[in-house]
Symmetry: C2
Subunit: 141 residues, 2 copies
């Protein structure tokens, strides 16, 4: 197409576990800059010709080994300054599993993958604190 854009499209997966009344969220530790060493939602860039939800499911599995059948779309985040590498829009998806019933293992460009209690979260990279707030609101609806 003739349209030239310098914008990247990404997806993120916010996965909650509400088992045994302990509210947890699945995070991965970044292996590379930006935000190297910080915790973020599993996610990454959409492939050409790939559906948004498919991309979120793929990135989730690639980074955490967790395979989800479907995810719900939360919202698109498009602040041009949200990624220091350049204008990147991410579409966030959310899902729910029982953390005790699934295995997760860091892979791809994730240094680690870990469930965190929502009351004891590390500092999140990018704008993922804002995404988390919206995701929690979504589940309270």
């Amino acid at each position: 197409m003739a349209i030239k854009q310098d914008i990247r499209l990404a997806v993120d997966a916010v996965i909650f576990s509400f088992a045994a009344n302990i509210k947890k969220v699945l995070l991965v530790q970044r292996k590379n800059d930006p935000f190297k060493g910080q915790w973020v939602f599993p996610g990454g860039f959409v492939d050409d010709g790939e559906n948004l939800e498919t991309a979120a499911i793929r990135e989730l599995e690639e980074e955490t080994s967790l395979r989800m059948e479907n995810l719900s779309q939360l919202k698109a985040y498009g602040d041009p300054g949200r990624d220091p590498r350049g204008h990147t829009v991410t579409v966030a998806f959310i899902g729910q599993v029982n953390a005790d019933a699934v295995k997760t293992k860091a892979a791809s460009d994730a240094e680690a993958a870990k469930w965190f209690d929502l009351n004891d979260l590390p500092q999140l990279g990018f704008d993922h604190s804002e995404i988390l707030k919206d995701a929690i609101k979504f589940f309270k609806k």
Copy 2:
């Protein structure tokens, strides 16, 4: 950024009017292919460095002369086949005005801009029928 993607990012604005119990939606007639002559929501491509909502407000004004202060985000639509020109993801926004209290006038790449009764709609281009269904559900919440 090193990431190469062949994906375009667009926005669309679904503007309803519920005045005097007549439910209307604002559509524009496409001047160019694809879907030349068909009716669609005002919209277009996001500029580099531009916020999604800002882009939707800008495209709405460029194509219909209607100036909205803010819009709500509905959803991102990313089926790779939704635009025959190539993989294009659109983020749809919605807003509400009183059609009798505002002026609209086709401009930019819109052949015409017109309010349509929701009970008497033309065939919509792209996947805009699906977007309209979601937008109607959103307002019924």
